[in-house]
């Protein structure tokens, strides 16, 4: 019985410790991005990226979807995406692109916590997502 109690308590303690590590990042970034969404910053950034969208088989507006996915998460991206009325092929392209690369701020922070080369991984994810979107646009 003592073993079970000890294990349980250790689980709670370690769980709390790791939750705190994450929560410390989640709260400020969540607020920062919510504020940014209310300003024109994100749509300016999207305008900047929209010229490359056509190489991925996507309309210029899709830059907003990608940015929302990169910075926040897939649900934010889908919320931006639904009103655009995309085709099934475009949804598939975005699905692969965002599957490979999303929620980058928080996920990169987790990778940093496991003490690995997180910046290299971040670059790999972003480049892979663009390369793969370009590639499947050609083949499907």
């Amino acid at each position: 019985m003592i073993v079970i109690r000890e294990t349980f308590l250790r689980g709670i303690r370690n769980g709390l410790k790791t939750s705190l590590i994450l929560i410390k990042v989640v709260i400020p970034f969540y607020i920062l991005i919510s504020i940014l969404k209310e300003t024109p910053v994100i749509s300016y950034a999207a305008d900047l990226f929209s010229p490359i969208m056509k190489y991925l088989g996507l309309p210029g507006d899709a830059a907003m979807v990608i940015l929302a996915g990169y910075l926040v998460n897939l649900y934010a991206a889908i919320a931006v995406m639904i009103p655009l009325g995309l085709t099934a092929k475009q949804i598939t392209i975005l699905g692969l692109l965002l599957g490979l690369s999303h929620n980058l701020i928080i996920e990169t922070f987790v990778l940093r916590e496991i003490k690995t080369n997180y910046l290299l991984l971040l670059m790999i994810r972003i480049s892979l997502s663009l390369i793969m979107a370009f590639t499947i646009n050609q083949i499907i």
Binding site: T39, L74, A88, L121, I136
Partner: protein, 153 residues
């Protein structure tokens, strides 16, 4: 945006941030407790050999199993508790940690991520297939490379 709006947005987002933190907390704590029990009752040592063989193909040992599978199914953000802890305690070396990161960076939360795009009309095969393929190929190639550099004379 005027100052009134800024305050409103901050308050609303603070509420959202706290809710999200609560959700993270509610998912991570029970998972870590579960993980501690598996570890205490030497589940990992027992499930050893078959898993070792499969994971060996991509240069990982069964020590990385729990963070790997948590990441694949739950995702990096929700699986964070176990990923961080498992990676720290599993005494993974530098190469192995990077391989784990590489695999998970390309291929994680596969069920949820794929389904939400399929629901709105995407093709699940094209969304998930390339991710699994990339993760396996990249980890495999890099692990060979690491092996080669560690064993050259």
């Amino acid at each position: 945006m005027n100052s009134f709006n800024l305050i409103t947005v901050t308050i609303i987002s603070l509420k959202g941030a706290i809710l999200l933190s609560l959700k993270l907390f509610l998912i991570i704590v029970p998972l870590v407790v579960f993980y501690e029990f598996l570890k205490r009752f030497t589940f990992f040592e027992k499930s050893g050999r078959g898993l070792d063989y499969l994971m060996g193909k991509v240069g990982l040992s069964s020590r990385a199993a729990i963070p790997l599978f948590t990441g694949i199914f739950l995702g990096i953000a929700y699986g964070a508790g176990i990923i961080i802890q498992g990676a720290r305690e599993g005494s993974l070396n530098k190469g192995e940690t990077f391989l784990l990161g590489l695999f998970l960076a390309t291929c994680h939360a596969v069920v949820e991520d794929t389904l939400i795009f399929v629901v709105i009309g995407g093709n699940g095969l094209w969304i998930l297939g390339p991710r699994i393929f990339l993760a396996l190929t990249f980890t495999f190639l890099l692990s060979r490379l690491i092996y080669y550099f560690n064993h050259r004379t």
